[in-house]
């Protein structure tokens, strides 16, 4: 066993979304630390993966031991303003179904929260909802 490769965990999570949103109808998706200039009145998705507090699981030192790695997947869904929530929620369902209670490549996703409407979209000029999914992965040293 070896220390967890958090970049691999991130890739698993983001890759799933990128693959899904490349399907028709394709939706642009942007990740952490990427520049993106959205087209006005279009739909697009922002995916933010963060790792949080980890914890001991089992006995042991730097070998033969286990840690729990936890994280938060935060997905902002933007769609045209003033035309109702339908288009946004359609994307929300695609996103939510990707992670809701899914176990893939050793990453366990919890029950998804949202899509939750945000009163103050950022950036402004869009109707924004947010899907949040906590996840965990077991590090086997």
């Amino acid at each position: 066993m070896a220390a967890a490769d958090l970049n691999a965990v991130r890739a698993v999570i983001e890759g799933r979304l990128a693959t899904e949103l490349a399907n028709s109808p394709a939706i642009p998706v942007v990740f952490h630390n990427m520049a993106y200039e959205p087209t006005p009145n279009s739909s697009w998705v922002q995916c933010l993966v963060s790792f949080g507090s980890n914890e001991y699981l089992s006995f042991g030192g730097t070998t033969a031991s286990d840690n729990r790695i936890v994280g938060l997947l935060l997905i902002n869904i933007f769609s045209a303003k003033g035309v109702g929530p339908g288009a946004n929620y359609t994307i929300g369902k695609r996103v939510r179904d990707l992670y809701n209670r899914v176990n893939v490549s050793g990453v366990y996703f919890d029950a998804a929260t949202g899509p939750e409407v945000l009163g103050s979209p950022a950036p402004e000029g869009y109707f924004q909802t947010q899907v949040r999914v906590t996840f965990e992965s077991i590090e086997e040293l």
Binding site: Y56, L57, S58, F59, G60, G61, A64, S65, D66, D110, I138
Partner: protein
């Protein structure tokens, strides 16, 4: 003086005295309570009660994360121990609970060594949690607190 954290401990287990003690993987906790009987020997004329120690025994628990195992390794044998039928219970299971040194069983480690009888195994699964097995045991015979040589 040094203090130790729980994760520095470790558990070794063997199904029979002829077997080799093997590390139990993914242990979450262990505990051992050692009891000594108290026998009162107060005599007439004494002002204060007097006591002497009686028989010593122990009981405790080991908590592990469940994983698929095979008989013959420490965890596999521990998980299967409760299913040992009385007809074959002439075997004597043994365990060593390491208190520190990251369970490396190095020469400076200290351990509690004893034979034991697994009296209950609780397999549990809860939504959103890792599955855990808790073993309760009682010691058989001597309990030794020793430094690994």
């Amino acid at each position: 003086m040094a203090f130790y954290r729980g994760e520095q401990g470790n558990v070794l287990f063997k199904h029979d005295s002829g077997d080799t003690l093997t590390v139990v993987t993914a242990v979450r906790s262990w505990s051992l309570t050692i009891d000594k009987e108290s026998l009162e020997v107060t005599k007439m004329g004494d002002t204060f009660r007097d006591r002497v120690g009686g028989l010593i025994g122990g009981s405790g628990s080991i908590e592990v994360f469940y994983e698929k195992t095979a008989a013959g390794d420490g965890k596999g044998d521990l998980i299967r121990e409760i299913l040992t039928t009385p007809a074959t219970e002439s075997t004597v299971a043994g365990a060593e609970l390491y208190t520190y040194d990251a369970g490396s069983q190095a020469a400076t480690s200290e351990k509690l060594a004893f034979n034991l009888l697994i009296t209950s195994s609780e397999f549990s699964a809860s939504v959103g949690e890792l599955q855990v097995v808790t073993f309760n045991f009682e010691t058989k015979g001597a309990i030794a607190l020793t430094t690994v040589s």
